[in-house]
């Protein structure tokens, strides 16, 4: 069994969380889905969103990152970083703060490349079209021409183990009682106290 799990950090690589025929348990807010991966591919780094030009000392509105949406039955695994000097607050989905502590929603800025070169702490997963959203904060005394985010990751196509032609109730039960291997994939944040 490959040593695969979320938030994995190592030098020089960003591993997928699952390979072909691996079981995954997708968590989206309070919902849980039992699936099996039947295809995966890497997605090279790309500019996934431009949150727009931003005046000095100003926060932006919340912008949905539609380019990180996945097709039906698919989830994406993403790490990301900004290439413009703003602080980014992530929401996933748009109504739930990500990286949320009791007293602070932790932002991500360009320093992430120095402080967390693997970007492991930025890792998120996106289930189907349940995309994240982001806000930018420009703390400078000058305007920013753009606030761009780069994402890198993996695309996973899955089959449903709970219903349909690939249903396998015995396997699902085995996963639930811990007798079959499965990787948990959290595809959203969670509200405080939720």
């Amino acid at each position: 069994m490959p040593d695969l799990y979320i938030f994995k950090a190592q030098v020089g690589m960003f591993d997928p969380v699952a390979l072909q025929n691996h079981n995954v348990r997708i968590h989206y807010v309070q919902a849980t889905y039992y699936r099996k991966v039947d295809f995966l591919e890497g997605i090279p780094p790309f500019q996934c969103v431009n949150l727009g030009a931003l005046a000095a000392v100003t926060p932006s509105g919340r912008v949905n990152i539609v380019n990180l949406e996945m097709a039906d039955n698919e989830f994406g695994l993403w790490r990301w970083y900004p290439i413009d000097d703003a602080q980014i607050r992530l929401y996933h989905p748009a109504g739930i703060a990500k990286y949320q502590l009791r007293n602070l929603q932790v932002p991500v800025d360009m320093n992430i490349l120095f402080r967390d070169p693997n970007l492991v702490s930025t890792e998120i997963a996106v289930w189907q079209n349940n995309r994240p959203a982001a806000e930018a904060i420009n703390g400078h005394a000058f305007a920013l021409g753009a606030v761009r985010l780069i994402a890198i990751g993996y695309r996973f196509h899955t089959v449903d183990l709970e219903s349909g032609k690939d249903a396998d109730p015995e396997l699902v039960n085995a996963i639930k009682v811990g007798k079959a291997p499965c990787t948990d994939v959290w595809c959203s944040g969670r509200g405080i106290g939720d």
Binding site: C48, R79, I83, G145, R148
Partner: protein, 126 residues
């Protein structure tokens, strides 16, 4: 992953002979790449190097901005000296700060005679 901390693809612009006349005669020296059909990606550029060759234009200056051609301003950098008949080179980090532009870059000179050849090297971000 150990991503590079400095982004940017380094490319050079064309050699452009600046003519006398100030900002009203400003010319395009680097165009932001906007590929037709480009899927995603807002590009910007950071100026890395500026080289000037003065063709008997006298001791003068060259200004670099990102306004429209023929308008020039706003300026991106203080005036760069260009000495009569000589070649001058200016480098980011050493001679000027690493300015970034999201609009095409133009240049002009207040010289009253001759031309000044200018070429930029920039890092394209985005």
């Amino acid at each position: 992953m150990l991503l590079a901390n400095k982004e940017g693809i380094v490319v050079t612009g064309p050699v452009v002979p600046l003519v006398p006349g100030g900002a009203a005669t400003s010319l395009l020296v680097f165009a932001i790449p906007v590929l037709v059909g480009q899927l995603v990606g807002v590009k910007s550029v950071k100026i890395r190097k500026v080289i000037l060759h003065n063709n008997a234009a006298g001791n003068t200056t060259v200004l670099i901005g990102n306004g429209a051609v023929g308008v020039g301003i706003p300026v991106l950098l203080p005036a760069l000296d260009s000495l009569n008949g000589l070649t001058d080179s200016y480098y980011a980090d050493a001679d000027f700060p690493e300015v970034e532009s999201f609009a095409n870059i133009v240049a002009w000179t207040p010289a009253v005679a001759g031309t000044i050849d200018i070429q930029l090297e920039v890092a394209v971000i985005g």
